[in-house]
């Protein structure tokens, strides 16, 4: 990751490509040119160091710039330009969101994401939670539903917690909470009396949590089970017997590297073998 970071800072490499709107220097609508710049490259592989720059006319066109562009993960703003900082495919979502679809196993905490953490230490008023990032996150004991100074939550070292990040940037220690802004738990907190926790890549996590995930649809046909998926690549599974739990674990781990057809045949075989 460090190498890639260095690469994108160094613009003198002849490799870094610049995408500009030279063909449309006289455009009246500024937003159209920006979207057009991106649209050419949607679905294509981009490398770190590629730059999207927009030469917008500054002559009193302030009223047009009311729409905003949202750069998702993998894209970074650098003054008036947008730089790519991860290698992957450019994706687009209406009306104005762009991001880079890439693969990685290492998790970087981001605000608002729900993750599974393991409590490693209890010190005073906070718990130290390992979320798989570069630093351990802190979780205050008041950040549970119904917790007060007298009524402390029942959290021990080694417990699994499902929480959200309130603070997660590269300058500060990440902070987790197990309640939402209204004070309700919404399923967050300590869980996992039984079951198995294992690690997968972040790409598989996104595929599992996609709105109409095929993997989930195929899996639920086999047998009933419970699943908690954390955005940090950790997945917890619980089924009726230990054997079923292990089967689901193995299926999820192998889903990583299979095409959908291979996956469906494998699942069918398992379902038949089980029944």
């Amino acid at each position: 990751m460090l190498f890639l970071h260095f690469y994108c800072e160094n613009k003198s490499f002849s490799r870094s490509r610049k995408y500009t709107n030279t063909g449309r220097s006289r455009c009246f609508l500024a937003m159209d040119t920006i979207h057009a710049c991106f649209k050419e490259k949607i679905g294509e592989v981009l490398l770190p160091g590629d730059v999207f720059s927009f030469r917008l006319s500054e002559s009193g066109d302030g009223s047009i710039k009311t729409e905003k562009i949202i750069c998702g993960p993998g894209l970074r703003r650098n003054g008036e330009e947008v730089q790519v900082c991860k290698s992957g495919i450019l994706r687009h979502k209406q009306p104005n969101m762009y991001w880079i679809d890439s693969q990685q196993r290492r998790y970087v905490p981001a605000k608002g994401e729900s993750v599974i953490g393991i409590v490693t230490a209890k010190s005073g008023d906070i718990f130290k939670v390992d979320v798989g990032g570069s630093e351990q996150a802190s979780l205050s004991y008041l950040a549970f539903e119904g917790a007060t100074k007298r009524n402390r939550p029942n959290v021990q070292v080694g417990d699994l917690v499902y929480g959200q990040f309130t603070i997660a940037n590269k300058d500060m220690e990440p902070e987790l909470v197990c309640i939402d802004s209204c004070g309700r738990a919404n399923g967050m907190g300590v869980f996992g009396a039984d079951g198995l926790l294992f690690k997968v890549s972040l790409g598989l996590v996104r595929r599992l949590l996609a709105p109409q995930s095929e993997i989930i649809k195929d899996l639920e046909k086999i047998f009933p089970f419970e699943l908690v998926v954390g955005m940090n690549g950790r997945v917890w599974v619980k089924a009726k017997t230990v054997q079923q739990t292990l089967i689901v674990t193995n299926l999820l781990e192998t889903c990583e590297n299979m095409t959908s057809q291979q996956r469906q045949t494998l699942f069918k075989r398992v379902a038949e073998g089980f029944l």
């Binding site: 905003k68 750069c71 994401e113």
Partner: protein, 149 residues
């Protein structure tokens, strides 16, 4: 005898103090910089990009509470998208509006009866139930007559 300072003197002293204090303040001798309006927003998380669903899931009734949560959280997310189009938001009511109106009618009636004087109570009830206007309006109210000496 005047003790203390005049109001004018006080004002002058205050102004001098303020001047001294503001002279001691340090400030940057730079031209006014305008903050540029940023129209590119950075978003670090991929959850809104790909519309990821809630992370806790349960299938085929393994954990009914989690299944309820799944419905709640996933429809909550869909409602947020729909509500952007609706401007009017009606609160969900347990009782319909008509029932409420009926309840209020009878409530007003019973309250009026309660605070009406005993003499008026019968006339009030009769006039309410009477639909064909057969009841004549009540006679002039009986007031206390002071005895004449």
């Amino acid at each position: 005898m005047q003790r203390g300072l005049d109001a004018e003197l006080k004002k002058q002293l205050d102004e001098e103090e303020k001047r001294i204090i503001s002279d001691e303040h340090w400030f940057l001798d730079l031209p006014e910089l305008k903050a540029k309006e940023n129209y590119i927003i950075e978003e670090r998380s991929c959850v809104p990009c790909e519309d990821l669903v809630y992370g806790r899931m349960s299938f085929r009734g393994f954990n009914p509470e989690v299944e309820k949560l799944m419905l709640l959280m996933n429809t909550h997310k869909e409602e947020e998208e729909d509500e952007e189009e609706d401007d009017v938001s009606r609160m969900e009511t347990d009782i319909t509006d008509e029932e409420m109106a009926r309840r209020y009618e009878s409530l007003v009636e019973s309250m009026r009866n309660k605070f009406a004087k005993k003499r008026n109570r019968s006339t009030v009830t009769k006039s309410e139930e009477d639909v064909n206007c057969n009841v004549v309006g009540d006679q002039p109210k009986k007031v206390f007559l002071k005895p004449q000496d």
